[in-house]
């Protein structure tokens, strides 16, 4: 073992010395806030308040995750002992709020949504419906963006990887939104998305003769879609470059071999390109997932989480409660849950995806 002695015993000292700046930085600006946040999440600490900070145990977490389902019973007409029925023949139910406010067990809860299933009316009540909605929105965003944007990026990479005239120009064009700040693009797209006077609806109106003009950011049905389109548009070029690097790393000999075996274009793609891109794809999936979970800028600039919480995300909720509403303790609890969520998913993805990498 020559290596042990090659630096005459200074190796450990040098190693620590060269690691020190990064370790100090990671400790102060990543580890410390992480533990600080964990600590504060058990308090009611506020950003600005003359009131003293108190230890509140798991109260913040209970408020975030508090969720109950109540079954509503239709109102009974005392005379007929039958359920009362309105003009349209539907059963009349009591107001959820009356029930929630009337029962101490439901204190601090409010209606999230109501659903008529299994022949009864069920109300889901939550302490912070916005947080639960933010979880759902974030998952929807991730589940659409990861395959959608990744697929678009792969198609673009395949296109510009062909030895066609002008491929550099196209590559540059596809990548250009990546180098532009999201804050800038979100403002520009807000203008483009204006339902009456924006470029996008002017265009859609011309193409569909006025039959298709979504309200984009203004409607709860389309706001998240609008944000997804902008996000994919902005970032697809980045994944394209990574796929492109992956494609260029595939040995040409594999394609030649496939051709000799009589494989057509599709078969070559299926049996050479896809397996060879496995590592690249894994990298793209993992990195896009983590980035997608952090959705914030577009939401903050364009919709502030609205309308009707349709675009609220976990990070937005953390900033909104922890910073804007100044509830540091509560916001910290949101970020702790967010951290647990992202780490869990990252570890799961790694475990699932890496297991078959070894085959390669």
């Amino acid at each position: 073992m020559r290596r042990l002695t090659r630096f005459q015993g200074h190796e450990t000292a040098y190693a620590w010395l060269m690691s020190a700046p990064a370790l100090i930085g990671l400790f102060l600006f990543v580890a410390l806030p992480l533990f600080g946040g964990l600590y504060w999440s058990f308090t009611n600490k506020r950003l600005i308040s003359p009131l003293p900070t108190k230890y509140v145990g798991f109260q913040n977490y209970q408020n975030l995750l508090g969720l109950q389902i109540i079954r509503l019973e239709p109102e009974i007409d005392p005379a007929t002992r039958q359920a009362r029925i309105d003009a349209e023949g539907n059963k009349i139910y009591p107001r959820t709020r009356t029930i929630v406010r009337g029962n101490p067990a439901y204190q601090g809860y409010r209606e999230w949504f109501t659903s008529d299933v299994f022949g009864g009316r069920y109300v889901v009540i939550a302490r912070d419906p916005t947080f639960l909605r933010s979880l759902i929105n974030t998952f929807v965003f991730v589940l659409v963006i990861v395959p959608g944007q990744g697929g678009l990026a792969l198609i673009m990479a395949l296109l510009v990887n062909q030895r066609l005239r002008g491929r550099y120009v196209f590559r540059t064009i596809y990548f250009s939104p990546v180098v532009t700040s999201m804050a800038v693009l979100a403002i520009v797209w807000t203008f483009l998305y204006n339902p009456d006077q924006g470029l996008i609806n002017r265009f859609l109106s011309a193409v569909t003769f006025g039959n298709f003009q979504p309200d984009w950011l203004v409607s709860a049905d389309s706001a998240l879609v609008a944000i997804i389109i902008l996000s994919a548009w902005q970032a697809a070029g980045f994944q394209m470059i990574i796929f492109l690097a992956g494609l260029q790393g595939i040995p040409q000999s594999l394609y030649e071999a496939a051709q000799i075996d009589g494989g057509n274009t599709w078969q070559q793609f299926r049996h050479v390109t896809i397996p060879q891109l496995r590592n690249t794809t894994i990298f793209v999936i993992i990195s896009t997932t983590i980035l997608a979970f952090r959705l914030f800028t577009q939401v903050d600039v364009m919709t502030k989480g609205g309308p009707q919480d349709a675009t609220v995300t976990v990070v937005f909720h953390a900033v909104d409660t922890g910073f804007r509403q100044q509830k540091i303790g509560y916001g910290s609890a949101v970020t702790v849950l967010f951290f647990i969520l992202v780490v869990t998913i990252a570890l799961m993805q790694r475990a699932l995806l890496k297991s078959d990498v070894e085959v390669e």
Partner: protein, 304 residues
């Protein structure tokens, strides 16, 4: 659509089959249609932004009524740009953003590559522990720690004796110098460099730092370039942190500069001029370096 349509096309064409030639032509047409369609999709917001920034405010809305005019600068004015300069210290914002990016990236390249070198090339006690720590921390999203980080940096002392880092340039730089993901990229690259080179230097009596500086760094240009570009892109568009940690114009970066400009007295022509002034310089930089960038990414092994 395959990576290899072109290769295949060449091969078939050489065999001179006319039916194949028609097919080749059709594929080419389809390919270009898709590529041009996508190009229009990716370009239209930016072109619209730049073109409109040269138009008088009223004309932007008039021209939107007919889509074609929206992309043609039929009347050119620089007034939007001069208004932006009059209303906000654009130069200051530009300096702040540029400074933050350059300072963080250059310090980060040094700091992160040094620890990666120690992890990848040196033998020392605690190495495994440190490496696992770095990998674990690389998962921590910045967004998960901003709220507590804000409270913490507010308590940190600074070299001039003052307490609290808020509303400064360094609060936007120092926390982002050490970056676990960058360390990880450096580590992956360094571990692949053959060790024979180190040994040559060792025989010459060099210290580990000399090996790092004279051998590893010169051989690792692609990874330095990739990390620099990734970090620069991230920092340049950084929004959440400066939004929370700064307030005055003195330390405000461009991203917060434009969103606050957008928040007050909306004049779209000026906003688009502001947006163009942020975007165009970076696009030009990218155009100059794009080929180099793609090669770096390929060489770094960012692809997994």
């Amino acid at each position: 659509m395959s990576a290899n349509i072109a290769g295949e096309i060449d091969y078939r064409a050489r065999r001179g089959q006319s039916r194949r030639r028609l097919r080749r032509f059709l594929i080419l047409v389809i390919d270009y249609s898709i590529m041009i369609g996508l190009a229009m999709f990716f370009l239209f917001p930016i072109v619209f932004m730049v073109v409109s920034s040269f138009k008088p405010e009223k004309l932007i809305f008039d021209d939107l009524k007919t889509i074609a005019w929206a992309f043609i600068p039929r009347e050119v004015t620089l007034e939007n740009f001069t208004s932006v300069f009059r209303r906000v210290p654009f130069g200051r914002f530009m300096f702040n953003s540029t400074f933050i990016v350059l300072a963080t990236v250059s310090a980060g390249l040094l700091v992160n590559s040094m620890i990666a070198f120690a992890l990848a090339r040196l033998r020392w006690k605690g190495k495994t522990a440190v490496l696992s720590l770095v990998i674990a921390l690389s998962i921590v999203p910045l967004d998960a720690i901003v709220v507590p980080l804000l409270v913490l940096v507010n308590e940190f002392p600074w070299i001039d004796g003052s307490i609290g880092w808020l509303d400064t340039l360094h609060v936007q730089i120092i926390p982002f110098v050490a970056d676990a993901f960058s360390i990880f990229l450096f580590y992956q690259f360094f571990i692949g460099i053959p060790r024979d080179f180190d040994e040559a230097a060792t025989i010459d009596g060099g210290s580990p730092f000399a090996v790092y500086r004279r051998i590893v760094v010169p051989l690792s240009r692609p990874v330095f370039a990739t990390v620099a570009i990734l970090q620069a892109l991230f920092l340049w568009s950084s929004y959440l942190w400066p939004l929370m940690a700064t307030r005055g114009e003195a330390s405000r970066p461009l991203t917060v500069g434009i969103t606050s400009f957008y928040g007050q007295d909306v004049k779209w022509a000026q906003i688009l001029a502001f947006a163009s002034m942020i975007t165009i310089p970076v696009l030009i930089l990218f155009l100059l370096f794009q080929k180099w960038f793609v090669q770096s990414v390929a060489a770094t092994g960012l692809k997994g």
